[in-house]
């Protein structure tokens, strides 16, 4: 007998207490980085699995992160999402049948729901075993799960559960009966092969038939539950076909506890991966790249090529707008990006993308971009402008300082910090002074991070700082490119003939008119 399978998300689930956003407050960075939007999109339509704790629990050990990356890579490379999707669909159907069984009132009815639940469960298991057997798995997680499942399926107990269910279903499907209704009397008997009346009618008028017409079949709203006339007819049908119905009765009594525990947990946990793969597919379809990040630890030479803000990209794609990707890298002693430049130029987006990249990597998921190397952090801190206290400048500055102080007391050299337009509620001189102080402390702690600021002076404070600038179209400074480039911060920078515009010149027309 093999070791019981534990979890597809954790090698050692006992080492990882889950953070459930339903039970405790989520950290600031969740909303600052729009991770709540991303996780919202990831968990939408999967409420029954309650995946939030998995997405809200960040991992700090690279071994577990890798465990997940392997599983995700297997699912992707072996194109297993269809396989898992089918399995999940069957498990959901099974739960639906159990609900029906629970709600049903007549014995011949509830027993049938229960039979259908078991039969669906069995085919879910059998299909999954068969499809996993063909997959060239590399991940520890899926290989162990496959071994476990193969043993389970080969067990004689499971085999008889499945075979009996199939036989019963086939026998019930073969039951055909007829009702002769005249006045208030119904005669129930076995069906005797009489012909379909609608075909007779169609045949009479066939010469008029042209194409298709409206469908006049009425959607007959049958009550959710069987009514007593139907139930009485079913009882009579059960008497006409008594052998099958007796077997059904015995089968249900014998298999009350058929569901396997580890398998049920797998059904939930695998949805973590499925949700992410499905979400990722939206972006890939639009040509946006994703990659499995490597880890720079213990070093901090992180980089990302063609990265983007997932939450923003999701919105832009829905609006059919284009998404701008950005690159960054840190070398040697470099630790902090100071981002300055024109407003509305994508600075905050850049900062969020940096934070999202690290967070998503930390839960073992692929990240936006063609290639990425990230840092496995112990804590992620964000300091974004708060809307409250508007007008009360002193209060706001104080609030800013309290928050940054709190961050700097909790942070370590393994932390990441993302600051967005802080200290805006004071004079420039004060802002420069405070910012320099705070930056010095951050550099002192050797943290990794991004600081979006209008204070260009910050970009040249230290050689640990890399200056990034939002850019505009040179010929038209009013147009933003949303490109953030690595360069030092410095100050900023229409008549084609109307016929040409309408493509109505001789040359254009020769091209446009088909010949």
């Amino acid at each position: 007998m093999s070791v019981p399978f534990k979890s597809i998300l954790f090698e050692k689930p006992e080492d990882h207490p889950l953070h459930d956003p339903m039970d405790s407050e989520t950290p600031d960075f969740v909303t600052d980085l729009n991770l709540d939007q991303i996780i919202g999109a990831l968990t939408a339509n999967r409420e029954e699995y309650h995946l939030e704790p998995y997405f809200y629990t960040h991992l700090t050990d690279i071994r577990t992160i890798t465990y997940r990356q392997e599983v995700m890579q297997d699912l992707e490379a072996q194109n297993l999402s269809v396989t898992i999707g089918l399995f999940s669909h069957k498990m959901r159907t099974m739960r639906h049948y159990l609900d029906q069984e629970h709600k049903g009132y007549y014995k011949h009815q509830t027993e049938r729901w229960f039979l259908d639940a078991i039969e669906t469960y069995c085919t879910a298991v059998v299909d999954l075993v068969q499809k996993l057997a063909r997959a060239d798995l590399k991940s520890r997680g899926l290989i162990e799960f496959r071994d476990y499942l193969r043993n389970y399926r080969a067990n004689p107990e499971f085999l008889s559960l499945w075979e009996e269910a199939q036989q019963l279903k086939a026998d019930l499907a073969a039951v055909q009966y007829s009702l002769l209704i005249k006045g208030h009397r119904i005669q129930v008997q076995r069906y005797g092969g009489e012909v379909d009346y609608s075909a007779v009618v169609q045949d009479t008028f066939s010469k008029f038939k042209v194409g298709t017409t409206k469908d006049y079949r009425v959607q007959l709203a049958r009550g959710v539950d069987m009514n007593h006339v139907e139930a009485t007819i079913l009882d009579l049908v059960a008497q006409l076909f008594s052998e099958v119905f007796t077997r059904l009765d015995n089968y249900c009594a014998a298999h009350r506890n058929y569901l396997d525990g580890p398998l049920a947990l797998f059904d939930r946990e695998i949805q973590f991966y499925m949700a992410y793969l499905e979400y990722m597919a939206i972006f890939k379809k639009a040509g946006l790249p994703f990659c499995y990040p490597s880890f720079a630890n213990p070093g901090k030479e992180v980089h990302s090529y063609e990265g983007f803000d997932l939450a923003l990209a999701h919105k832009l794609l829905a609006e059919r707008a284009s998404v701008v990707c950005n690159d960054f890298y840190l070398e040697r002693q470099e630790r902090i990006f100071v981002v300055s430049g024109p407003n509305q130029g994508g600075k905050t987006t850049f900062a969020r993308a940096f934070g999202q990249l690290h967070y998503l990597a930390s839960i073992g998921c692929p990240v936006p971009g063609r290639e990425a190397r990230v840092f496995a952090f112990d804590n992620l801190f964000t300091h974004f402008e708060r809307e409250e206290n508007r007008g009360d400048f002193r209060g706001k500055l104080q609030d800013d300082l309290v928050r940054i102080h709190e961050i700097l007391t909790k942070s370590s050299s393994s932390s990441i910090i993302i600051m967005n337009e802080i200290f805006t509620s004071t004079t420039l001189q004060d802002a420069i002074f405070i910012s320099e102080q705070v930056m010095a402390e951050i550099l002192q702690q050797d943290m990794l991070g991004v600081c979006v600021t209008f204070i260009e002076e910050l970009s040249s404070l230290s050689d640990a700082i890399v200056s990034m600038v939002s850019t505009v179209v040179p010929s038209n400074p009013a147009v933003r490119t949303y490109k953030i480039v690595r360069k030092s911060a410095s100050g900023p920078s229409y008549a084609l003939s109307i016929a040409e515009k309408h493509r109505l010149t001789y040359d254009w027309l020769k091209e446009r008119i088909p010949s």
């Binding site: 005669q187 129930v188 008029f208 042209v210 009425v218 049958r222 007819i233 016929a499 008119i513 010949s515």
Partner: protein, 516 residues
């Protein structure tokens, strides 16, 4: 069952997509006057007239197929009106038979049987007309149509229809088969025709031996009663659907008949109006799309003739192998009317109608396209030119080498030099792609330039002006002139106002060499 009066091989589709520029055509060519005359206040006739005139045929054979049918109709107007009347009555009576309040299979079936009974009566009338009138018709289209009616609707068929309709009232109860569906609930309810009671003894023996359980719903069990009628409805659903669809198919036949006859009835109406006004009409001779010909005598603007007395002036033209016809000349000299008569005649020919002329022959084209300067705004600004060119560009999106394009004072929204240059580029490209263009223009620089090139695929016409400024509204061959006689117009409108010093009249027939 087909009607095939509009096309030899397919049904006429009233819901077809009209050409993208249908609205422009209607406005620029004043086609509503034509449609209204054809319709004589019958909305159905209007809709059919509109669709058929706007969706041109491009095959000369189909055009002649319709011309022959139309000739039959002009000879037998009362038969056409009778047939149209039967189709119309069938549709109107059908609409009066209401669906029940509750949408149930039994109400669907009940209504369908009533509708089918109505249609059977109407089909009998049609079959009778076919038997009595067929020999008066000569066209291929009508010969086939009447033969089809006579063949399909004999007495035997009507008898079988009546039997079937009677069976659908179920005098002996309903036999419904079923299977076990979700949760063992009965499903797949199908109404069955019981084995014939007169069937062989083996059948009866087997039937007698089968085990039967009987269940009666007590008189006071109201929910049981509802459950039972729900079961009946389950069983009737497919049969009711089949009956309702059959009724729809027959309705479809009457609708198609009414639609296709509507075109011809519209033409009959129009012809009667023309006869009343002593206006000429003839059946045109369409030639293939590859050819470039346009000959006619006494062509007049039909819509103008229908709206106004006296009858407009007819024009003659003989354009063989011409791809660009440039029309210049006096303001209010009949150029726009001439251009409109070209467009209307082309559309009428290409839907199989007679045309307003003594004789008419032209090649068919893929599209008739119009570009009329929006005259109400003559301000010279780039916004206007922009708007004009946007419309030209839209035309270019749809144009093919086999198109007919009518340009009415296009490119006039800028000064003459620029307008001429744009016109030169655009018209050169059109000529190189063999598009047939009629171009009414005041752009002298352009017209003179093209005239000097002397290309034989270009024909120059000019609105006639008699000495002294009288307009005859005749369009004749003639070289472009450097004035459009705006001064004439000025003098007429400002009759008696003395000219201010320094404003000299310039240009006259003698100012440039005449080309014809």
């Amino acid at each position: 069952m087909n009607v095939l009066l509009m096309h030899p091989d397919r049904d006429f589709d009233l819901a077809q997509n009209l050409p993208w520029n249908a609205q422009n055509l209607v406005e620029d060519l004043d086609l509503n006057t034509l449609f209204n005359t054809m319709a004589q206040k019958d909305q159905w006739l209007f809709d059919v007239a509109r669709t058929s005139v706007l969706s041109s045929l491009t095959d000369p054979n189909t055009i002649q197929y319709r011309q022959h049918i139309l000739q039959d109709c002009l000879k037998n107007p009362s038969t056409i009106r009778n047939l149209y009347g039967i189709a119309t009555e069938s549709m109107q009576e059908e609409r009066k038979i209401y669906f029940g309040i509750f949408n149930s299979p039994s109400s669907v079936l009940y209504r369908s049987v009533q509708v089918l009974e109505l249609f059977v009566r109407m089909l009998k009338k049609l079959a009778n007309i076919a038997r009595e009138e067929a020999e008066k018709f000569e066209s291929e289209g009508f010969a086939q149509f009447f033969a089809m009616l006579i063949k399909e609707f004999d007495d035997e068929y009507f008898a079988s229809l009546n039997t079937r309709l009677n069976d659908l009232r179920f005098p002996n109860g309903m036999l419904i088969s079923a299977e076990l569906g979700d949760g063992n609930r009965g499903t797949h309810y199908i109404l069955r025709r019981p084995h014939d009671v007169h069937a062989g003894w083996i059948h009866r023996l087997l039937a007698a031996k089968s085990l039967t359980y009987t269940y009666s719903i007590s008189d006071r069990d109201e929910s049981g009663d509802r459950a039972l009628s729900a079961l009946r409805d389950q069983g009737l659903n497919l049969v009711a659907n089949a009956a309702a669809q059959s009724a729809d198919h027959i309705l479809g036949f009457f609708t198609l008949l009414r639609t296709e006859l509507a075109f011809y009835l519209g033409c009959v109406n129009l012809h009667e109006q023309l006869t009343d006004r002593a206006l000429t009409a003839c059946f045109p001779l369409p030639s293939g799309p590859e050819q470039r010909c346009h000959h006619f005598n006494e062509l007049y603007d039909l819509c103008l003739a229908l709206r106004a007395e006296p009858a407009p002036v007819g024009n003659d033209m003989c354009a063989e192998n011409k791809e660009l016809i440039v029309i210049t000349g006096a303001n209010q000299g009949g150029k726009s009317t001439f251009l409109r008569s070209i467009g209307i005649a082309q559309l009428m020919m290409q839907c199989g109608m007679f045309v307003p002329a003594a004789s008419f022959c032209a090649n068919v084209c893929d599209h008739v396209l119009t570009h009329y300067s929006r005259r109400e705004d003559t301000a010279m600004n780039s916004g206007k030119l922009d708007e004009e060119l946007t419309r030209i560009s839209e035309i270019v999106e749809h144009i093919t080498p086999r198109s007919l394009l009518l340009l009415n004072e296009s490119f006039a929204a800028t000064n003459e030099r620029e307008g001429s240059e744009i016109a030169r580029q655009i018209l050169s490209a059109f000529m190189d792609t063999h598009i047939k263009v009629f171009f009414v223009t005041h752009l002298y620089e352009f017209a003179q330039d093209f005239y000097n090139q002397g290309r034989d695929i270009v024909l120059f016409l000019r609105a006639q002006r008699q000495d002294g400024g009288e307009r005859t509204y005749k369009i004749l061959e003639g070289a472009p002139l450097q004035t459009s006689y705006g001064a004439d117009l000025y003098h007429r409108i400002f009759a008696g106002t003395p000219l201010r010093p320094g404003v000299a009249e310039h240009g006259s027939d003698n100012a440039v060499p005449s080309g014809s």
